[in-house]
Symmetry: C2
Subunit: 548 residues, 2 copies
């Protein structure tokens, strides 16, 4: 909070002028937030800016400062005279009231107004939830009123959604209490960020595309094993109507008064993990450099952004930034007790994790720059160890000190980026025409480093459903732990000779991807014993505490 | 929709100038919606305007045009040279996607932009839901992590909320699926408009008051029968933080470019049924006449507004407008097949319903004007029958043709209002110091016309809890059907010699009222066989259909 107070916010309409975003396409939400009419994207095609994609090494549970790096890099590029714009995801209330307490960058590299961005913002998440939950209600209502479509209530795949950490809602029975309340059946809630409607929201190119994708959501199966889609319930018109404001990307500013899009929020472990494709494209349209963040490391947000979003959106990439910290490197070298303890041995051993992530991004044929997100405890020797290793791989390295210095601390990184002139279409890891198993195997072996992929009986059955609904040629959106390159969170560093077990394969028919689930994945988190929520407060003068 | 297109919206900042609302206290949501900082209310005390309260006779399920009358009256008063401002509730998504398709007035007496007002608006309802559901999650999380407070999961009173008609969520079991998901228990969702957080939201005078009331919510009881409040879970700070934007009333405009507050949305059958007290007070502050609507008829929104809101907010009332239609009067006279059929016999017989509603408002010592909301089918003879009857009671009568004519059609009503100069503090039906049973009996006998009040065993047990939590001196917020003056929807007209059965008494400890439940009351509606939702659509040019 103190960082925000030290700097003066500018009215969003004033900043947007610098980027030549026409004012009549902006809808204000107070003085410092605006939604941009997405149709602007299709109005006139001019030269688009270059795309910088920011990913990271395998993180500790504390996160390694990717968002902070994105924002600092945008500020640095603007300092160097380039128009630059960030595109990041909107934080979920789940982690805000759970452990994290907020997510909008850190130190002098933040987007503001932070309280609004973290709490409800422009109402996009509630809109996504209402769209989701309207469909859920229409399903049970259809069954209640005679079930003309013959929906088998045991085979309903679609779940309700709420942007809240609430483990009690994971597995529930609905429709109890007598015949007036419908038919009892097993059901559950996912956190909104893990829902298919969120994924669709992030992938849609316009209202018609959104409506079409929503209509294609696989609701479940009928008693005679026919797939039932949202469009069979005529749900997609109302769902899209609910989302009609939300689809327009949100603009805010950095502490150095540069623009950032904050739009969409799919998790990267279970969903695709980047901001909306519309916000990315608008960022490219109005900047020289659009800096886009993917969730977690190269094996999750990285792979998914390049294989799914870049392919779907026909995006070229100028450079990939991999964010590392000495804390995480030491952790991957085996240091467990005290992350910040001086331990060069562990640091050196941990570099193999970074090495794999560099190789992963190079596998897509892309130029990589490693950004070491500086902690005040980092020693010169530690920094040199990382720099020497990265440069020995022939890869660019930059120390990033944006937390403490803002854009100034990102200039080394920005300069490394600007040196890269060429933009490349990623060399995708799999072809859409490959079979689901081939696609899964390529990701597991090339990106994770697995030696073998196995399938549970349930997954084999799911793959038959995938064929049944005609999705053999769809995208693959893997779901696994972010805490390891493998599917086992205990395997730190660069695991080798491990096998992957695909437990199930979920179908996101509207989003057009299948979700192979590796290991235990929570689509509805729980709160810790002392949730961050109990530390929140608000006062008569408008001051708030709890978000940091 | 066509009415909106025929008239030109003005920017909300331009209209607010006319009312001398300082621009720096407005937060825009697009060009035509703004939130007003509630603290403006406490900044300087000037002469407040006069309060006109609009209620109605017992409605048919179609509604008799109260909101339409409110808006037309505001436009009419402005035409006559008085600054007038409406204060109405925000519509719930439940009825919008269920049967009604929207609620923002009708014909030439509407508030706009209607699509926004009806769909998500400025995000107040989601905020109320998140505040509600955060508390729910904290309750189950507390039990999961050791249950230090000893909460008896069988005695949790607090329910989750969602702004959706979804009967399947009325009665559910949560926490299934193994020990990682908590402890199974019976639970359920209410529609947001029926939640205690909505009631508290509507009753709070500032942030501190809001926080205090939220902390006072009765969550349930411990194993040793001690009450557990939200503050015991330290929930109120985060809940109030979520509501920090929502608490500021929303301003929109009528089709004749006059201002209207649309804020808060408690149902009147189960909750108190008027817009927020802050929006009512702000409307009074910035107008000569603030026109406020209560839900349903005098026996529900009417009684509750006068006994609860006017008492709590220390409000004087200039006049009460009772809206009637020949359709509803004929219905109460026994006409069932065709409401608009010419049937003077039924009309005359139905006048007894109107008579009782007039008497009800006179029981509070207030001046009454009856507004007959004109339908195009109404004959001169019918209108004369109603007028003669009303005037024979010594009460003012006005034909209101605002649906077809806008403010011009409300001038007769406005003139009748302006003639009333005196403002009166209502003569409350009960004293807070009376016992709960005395209070309930006074409302049932004086307002409903009941001869006897009985209590179920459950209600008797509930009343012991009321004493246990120290609420013998609290307000009473009755819950009953809106379709009859009695608790039996089949008893039309002016029922007499009937008894009332109090089935249960719910405790809204944070809102400081008890809710005696008479007959079957749904706190979570269901969707009809063909819900309005399936008629919604949205197009690339922003045009929407489904709301009318």
């Amino acid at each position: 909070m103190k960082f925000q107070k030290m700097l003066k916010l500018k009215k969003i309409f004033d900043i947007s002028k610098k980027y030549e975003i026409p004012e009549e396409s902006l809808r204000p939400y107070g003085d410092y937030i605006a939604k941009v009419d997405y149709r602007l994207l299709y109005e006139s095609m001019k030269d688009f800016g270059k795309l910088i994609f920011v990913t990271g090494i395998t993180p500790t549970p504390y996160g390694e400062g990717k968002t902070t790096t994105v924002i600092g890099l945008v500020d640095a590029l603007n300092r160097l005279g380039y128009k630059s714009l960030a595109s990041i995801r909107q934080p979920s209330l789940g982690p805000i009231f759970g452990i994290k307490g907020g997510a909008a960058g850190g130190g002098y590299a933040q987007v503001v107004p932070m309280d609004d961005i973290n709490l409800l913002f422009t109402g996009d998440f509630p809109a996504i939830e209402y769209a989701n939950n309207l469909l859920a209600s229409l399903i049970d209502n259809h069954i209640f009123h005679g079930n003309e479509l013959g929906i088998d209530s045991r085979k309903i795949k679609f779940r309700r959604a709420i942007d809240m950490n609430d483990r009690s809602l994971r597995s529930i029975v609905v429709g109890l209490g007598g015949s007036a309340n419908g038919f009892p059946r097993e059901a559950g809630f996912d956190i909104t960020a893990a829902s298919e409607v969120m994924a669709i929201f992030g992938l849609s190119l316009n209202i018609n595309d959104l409506k079409k994708k929503l209509g294609e959501i696989l609701v479940g199966f009928s008693y005679d094993k026919k797939p039932i889609y949202a469009r069979d319930l005529k749900a997609e018109g109302a769902m899209a109507a609910i989302l009609r404001r939300a689809i327009n990307p949100n603009l805010v500013q950095t502490l150095e008064n540069n623009l950032a899009f904050v739009h969409g929020g799919p998790f990267a472990n279970i969903a695709h993990g980047t901001s909306s494709i519309l916000s990315i494209k608008l960022a490219l349209k109005f900047s020289d450099y659009a800096v886009v963040e993917g969730g977690f490391a190269t094996d999750l947000g990285g792979e998914k952004f390049l294989d799914i979003i870049a392919r779907l959106g026909d995006l070229k990439v100028c450079a990939v930034v991999i964010v590392a910290t000495t804390r995480a490197l030491k952790y991957h070298g085996g240091l467990k007790v005290n992350y910040v303890e001086d331990s060069n041995k562990n640091l050196v051993r941990g570099l193999q994790n970074l090495e794999k992530h560099i190789e992963n991004m190079q596998a897509f044929g892309l130029k990589v720059v490693v950004a070491l997100n500086k902690f005040s405890e980092d020693t010169k020797e530690e920094i040199k160890i990382v720099r020497d290793f990265v440069e020995s791989m022939g890869v660019g390295f930059a120390l990033s000190d944006v937390w403490a210095q803002g854009g100034k601390g990102g200039e080394e990184l920005a300069k490394k980026i600007v040196e890269i002139e060429e933009e490349r279409t990623p060399r995708f890891i799999y072809k859409l025409e490959q079979s689901p198993k081939e696609k899964i195997e390529r990701i597991a072996k090339i990106i994770y480093g697995a030696s073998l992929v196995e399938y549970s009986q349930e997954a084999e059955a799911d793959l038959k459903d995938v064929s049944l609904v005609g999705m053999d040629n769809s995208f693959v959106c893997m779901a696994k732990t972010p805490l390891s390159l493998s599917a086992d969170p205990k395997l730190i560093g660069r695991p080798e000779d491990f096998k992957i077990m695909v437990r199930e394969v979920r179908i996101s028919h509207g989003a057009n991807f299948i979700v192979p689930v590796l290991g235990k994945i929570m689509t509805m988190p729980g709160l810790p014993k002392i949730p961050q929520a109990v530390k929140f407060d608000i006062f008569e003068n408008g001051e708030m505490q709890g978000i940091y």
